[in-house]
């Protein structure tokens, strides 16, 4: 009979997007209906009567579903817009990061130019990482294997994104350091080893991610 109640409620939500608040409302309804049904059975009602009384007590839920639908849609859209904007700003900053270097080449203050370059790159990467953090978690629609898999997939994609952001930051900093050290010490014959150091750090980050898993 629990299944019958669940099926009835699922039927009410059949045409609406399965977002978080909708799923929560559905679960809340099912739980409350089950308890009502069990109480009615305890009072001595037949299964059929208890089911009908429980269903009749729901009333017109369509208006509430419509309300939830609208509010969530708007919220989802603004999230997406925000995320797109943050990404655009980060990409723009990456492109602009070359400007201080170009300027410094003209004025022979190459060191200042490189500092500007690092600051901009760091900032842009920070935005990308932040953007990765605020992305919504995947919310399981039910307790099936498929849903579990989707959630896992989403989590993994998020992790990959965070790793890529860290990598970008690492290599930007290494390139910048390479130029700074080389131009300030003129030790070009040895300064390239910083890239080997970079590879080592990258490997350590990989190990860290694997252990964390």
């Amino acid at each position: 009979m629990d299944e019958k109640l669940r099926r009835y409620v699922e039927g009410l939500f059949v045409d609406v997007p399965q977002n978080k608040s909708m799923i929560e409302l559905k679960e809340e309804m099912i739980q409350n209906l089950k308890e009502k049904y069990e109480d009615l059975i305890q009072e001595g009602k037949t299964e059929e009567a208890a089911y009908n009384i429980a269903i009749a007590g729901i009333g017109d839920i369509s208006e509430l579903i419509n309300d939830l639908d609208k509010t969530k849609e708007e919220a989802g859209n603004t999230d997406k817009q925000k995320s797109a904007m943050l990404t655009s700003v980060a990409v723009m900053l990456y492109i602009l990061s070359i400007v201080p270097i170009l300027l410094s080449l003209q004025s022979y203050h190459i060191f200042d130019g490189l500092i500007g370059f690092i600051v901009i790159i760091t900032f842009a990467t920070g935005i990308l990482i932040y953007n990765g953090q605020i992305k919504q978690k995947y919310y399981r629609a039910d307790d099936t294997m498929v849903e579990e898999f989707k959630e896992w997939q989403k989590k993994r994609a998020d992790k990959t994104k965070a790793r890529i952001s860290i990598s970008v930051a690492l290599w930007s900093i290494i390139v910048a350091l390479y130029f700074i050290i080389s131009f300030s010490t003129f030790a070009w014959h040895i300064s390239w080893t910083i890239f080997i150091l970079g590879i080592a750090i990258e490997a350590l980050i990989n190990i860290f991610f694997i252990i964390k898993k």
Binding site: E27, N32, K36, G57, G59, D60, I61, E63, L64, D67
Partner: protein
């Protein structure tokens, strides 16, 4: 009876806030309490109940959390907030003054007719 239920429906928020005033509760429990207090003459439709929960939550009068029942589905509990307590007090005062007003108006009418 229809006047009664119309009147009651207008006070759904107050009824729910009153139900939560002394402790956290969830949908069915609140509705069951309403039924018991009215000797089975009144009970909220679930649609009305959930709409009220969402409205009150949006207004900051209540907040919700999922219980950690180990068996079966989880219950969604509601807690009244400080704002909610203030809202309850205000709504209660409004109802008392409205009740006094209606009483005096109706009684006056009856005397004239009598």
């Amino acid at each position: 009876m229809s006047i009664t239920s119309d009147l009651l429906r207008g006070h759904t928020d107050t009824i729910i806030l009153a139900g939560l005033f002394t402790g956290d509760s969830y949908g069915y429990e609140i509705n069951k309490a309403i039924q018991q207090k009215t000797n089975g003459r009144y009970e909220l439709k679930e649609a009305t109940l959930y709409s009220a929960f969402r409205r009150l939550e949006e207004a900051g009068d209540i907040s919700s959390y999922w219980g950690d029942e180990t068996t079966g589905a989880r219950r969604r509990y509601y807690t009244i907030t400080e704002t909610g307590r203030e809202t309850y007090t205000r709504l209660m005062a409004e109802w008392k003054s409205a009740k006094a007003m209606i009483d005096s108006l109706i009684e006056l009418e009856e005397k004239k007719n009598g």
